[in-house]
């Protein structure tokens, strides 16, 4: 290693890996319903898309992606819930990988809820 910049580059590269193991729970939590119903409806690609994009875009120090069991609204799966401290929970329904990418870009990165995919929009509360 001939310079501090080289060290910094490795640190940067490892940022996603290390922040996944951070115990800090103060950021945004994205939770994908991964019960049998969710998986059958295609939740797994949604989960993986979120996990991939959050890391690729360097959001992993403030956004954690994980799964949960059945949320209880099987006909709307895949369901994704976004918990943000100080804000109301946002529930996205009937998600797919493409919609996930949109949510990452517009909601997680820019801070605007993607209304058209939310449960509130579909008339359910």
């Amino acid at each position: 290693m001939k310079s501090l910049a080289e060290l910094q580059a490795i640190r940067e590269k490892m940022k996603n890996t290390m922040s996944m193991r951070d115990e800090d729970a103060s950021g945004i939590r994205v939770v994908v319903g991964m019960a049998t119903c969710g998986i059958a409806a295609g939740a797994r690609p949604v989960l993986n898309e979120f996990a991939k994009l959050v890391q690729e875009k360097g959001l992993s120090d403030r956004v954690k992606v994980s799964q949960t069991g059945c949320i209880g609204l099987c006909q709307y799966e895949p369901i994704v819930e976004v918990f943000e401290p100080g804000r109301e929970k946002v529930t996205y329904i009937k998600m797919d990988a493409q919609k996930a990418a949109e949510v990452v870009e517009r909601h997680l990165e820019a801070g605007h809820v993607v209304e058209k995919y939310t449960m509130a929009k579909s008339g359910l509360k």
Binding site: M1, K2, S3, L4, L7, I10, R11, K13, M14, K15, N16, T17, M18, M20, R21, E23, A25, V31, V32, G33, M34, A35, T36, I39, L47, N48, F50, A51, K52, Q55, E56, K64, V65, S66, Q67, T68, G69
Partner: protein, 596 residues
């Protein structure tokens, strides 16, 4: 890119409880369920809760699984890694609330009050992957030191932090470096003491197994500070996992140019060699350790000259303990003031303790200096199991003493413990309850020092043996009050006349138990009784004829055939045959057998 990491402990404790089999099963099952691109399995060092092993943590949820068996793996993979439902039955029981909610590790009693500095990366990174260490900020401190600080500034920072040696002596680390720095020589050395000889201690092993690079980085920093470019780590060969991880770490540091020549392009060169010790306790003493590295018989020599002037190969040398080094990069990164803000008085920072003996949560704990003993025993350790009464805690191993229960509120730091004749030592903490005999404990440690005395000086070689003989006499019921006086005199004689720390501290367990538990010694001598019912020669098992139903269960259990009697008639124990194993008492359903 993985969406989840499973960290499984590959430290010595979990390895011996089968973590490698669990890891293999996990990798296999993850592949079977097609999750290998989504879930990453990482082998780490120690999480501290060794008694709950094998342990593993699933991130990002930070769910802590304990005592996992290979059979449990498919359920964890399907339920948790795929479907996101933690298998609560396998979660560490302290991490599940009564409502079934799974807590993160840091919210459990065992971890809540801990502050992890030396252990910051243990259980969090893969110790065999230098990039994970760099990812947590590793080698930043070395970079900062080499590019922004002068050697004097480094020494000043360490001095200001108040860091004192964690190997037992408690000497200020910055001062040690300062005394060595001005000594001119064609060659100087930085050594690391990883001999860890105290029975029951495993703090250093865990750091080496879980975070070897932190020690390498610190040694390079020390080398820059004192003007040395060669380091040696003296590690005991009984630590095969630590040795292997150190070898890998040194090799990787070379590959990344973090050891070797012209580090960070600054012209600074530093290299580290490993030297394996054969596990002699005396080789942990600094002058003996250096002898041993030189390839000679590990015996201490008188000081001065001190190693700072004439150490390894007669060159100026500093020697620090593993845990001492593990603190250094954090002190450089976060500043002396941050470190000094933890702790009390002249004891700054945190200390790792190996909590063992009769305590619910055995394992490694790191706490700020000055934490009350009560917090360690009751909150973190969970008290003595089976409702037994806490009696004392032995600290500092064979060089240390006992803190009796009446001092449970004492702040645990160098100076408060010294006031009552105890030491922090290297961090061994053996908890004892009402069933432990203090004379027996003193005898245990003396047996150890008699074995480990190198024999060079008479006071230690013969003095400790004579002391042990007196203790044996007392525990077998043949002691006299004169013996007690002789024991005490001899203790101070050995302390004052031995050449090195081994002999100078060997009498401490006796001195301290005599101070706080003299009545127990007297009970052995005068009443011929062992109040804790440990010393076999002073025990007697008897059968109460009124309660005995003549069921013959005890007679059938007795391995020495010492019990006789007819069916349905009271039995008797032949005291001349009885070996005092207690099997009869454990068997009797009628409470007819008593021990005195």
């Amino acid at each position: 890119m993985y969406r989840s990491h499973v960290l499984i402990c590959g430290g010595t404790g979990c390895t011996s409880s089968g973590s490698q089999k669990v890891r293999a099963a996990l990798i296999d099952e993850i592949r079977k369920q097609g999750l290998e691109d989504e879930v990453n399995v990482v082998e780490t060092g120690c999480h501290g809760l060794c008694e709950q092993g094998p342990v593993m943590v699933v991130y990002p949820d930070s769910t802590f699984y304990a005592q996992v068996k290979p059979e449990d793996v498919p359920e964890i993979v399907t339920e948790h890694l795929l479907k996101g439902r933690p298998v609560t039955r396998l979660v560490y029981n302290e991490a599940v609330t009564d409502e079934g909610k799974v807590l993160s590790l840091n919210d459990t009693d065992f971890y809540k009050k801990q502050v992890r500095v030396a252990l910051r990366n243990c259980g969090v990174i893969d110790p065999e992957n230098i990039e994970e260490y760099i990812g947590t900020g590793g080698y930043q401190a070395l970079g900062k030191v080499l590019t922004e600080m002068t050697p004097d500034q480094v020494i000043q920072e360490v001095l200001d932090s108040g860091l004192r040696g964690r190997g037992g002596g408690g000497f200020p680390t910055g001062l040690k470096w300062k005394l060595c720095a001005p000594n001119k020589a064609d060659q100087k050395f930085v050594c690391c003491n990883a001999d860890e000889g105290d029975p029951g201690a495993f703090m250093d092993r865990s750091v080496l197994e879980g975070d070897p690079h932190s020690v390498l980085e610190a040694m390079a920093i020390a080398g820059y500070a004192i003007g040395a470019n060669q380091g040696y780590i003296y590690v005991r060969a009984e630590y095969p996992i630590a040795v292997k991880r150190l070898e890998i770490a040194i090799k990787q540091a070379h590959e990344y140019g973090l050891l070797g020549e012209d580090i960070f392009g600054t012209g600074f060169n530093f290299d580290i060699g490993l030297r394996l010790g054969a596990g002699a306790f005396v080789c942990g003493e600094e002058t003996a350790l250096m002898r041993s590295i030189e390839g000679k018989r590990g015996e201490p020599r008188p000081r001065p000259p001190f190693p700072a002037v004439k150490g390894l190969f007669d060159k100026p040398t500093i020697l620090n303990n593993v845990e001492t080094y593990a603190n250094i990069p954090e002190i450089i990164n976060r500043g002396a003031a941050w470190f000094a803000s933890m702790g009390v008085g002249k004891s700054k920072g945190t200390k790792v303790f190996a909590l063992g003996g009769t305590i619910t949560n055995t394992g490694l704990v790191e706490i700020p200096m000055g934490t009350p003993l009560r917090t360690i025993i009751e909150d973190i350790g969970g008290g003595c199991p089976n409702g037994k009464k806490f009696k004392a805690v032995q600290t500092g191993g064979p060089s240390g003493g006992c803190i009796p229960a009446s001092y449970i509120d004492i702040p645990v730091d160098y100076d408060h413990l010294a006031e009552i004749g105890c030491i922090i030592g290297s961090g061994g903490m053996i908890v004892m309850d009402e069933d432990n005999c203090m004379v027996d404990i003193a005898k245990f440690f003396l047996e150890f020092t008699v074995d480990e005395s190198c024999g060079k000086c008479t006071a230690c070689r013969i003095g400790t043996r004579r002391m042990l003989e007196i203790l044996e006499k007392i525990t077998s019921g043949n002691g006299t009050m004169e013996d007690l006086d002789k024991l005490e005199q001899l203790a101070y004689y050995v302390k004052n006349n031995s050449l090195c720390g081994l002999g100078q501290t060997a009498p401490n367990p006796v001195i301290s138990t005599l101070k706080f538990f003299r009545d127990e010694y007297i009970a052995h001598i005068v009443d011929k009784k062992c109040p804790a019912h440990v010393c076999k020669s002073l025990l007697q098992y008897t059968i109460d004829p009124a309660k005995c139903k003549g069921c013959t269960a005890c007679a059938r259990q007795c391995p020495a055939s010492a019990i006789s009697g007819k069916v349905k008639e009271p039995h008797v124990i032949d005291q001349s045959k009885c070996i005092k194993c207690g099997a009869c008492m454990a068997t009797c359903k009628f409470g007819a057998i008593s021990r005195q």
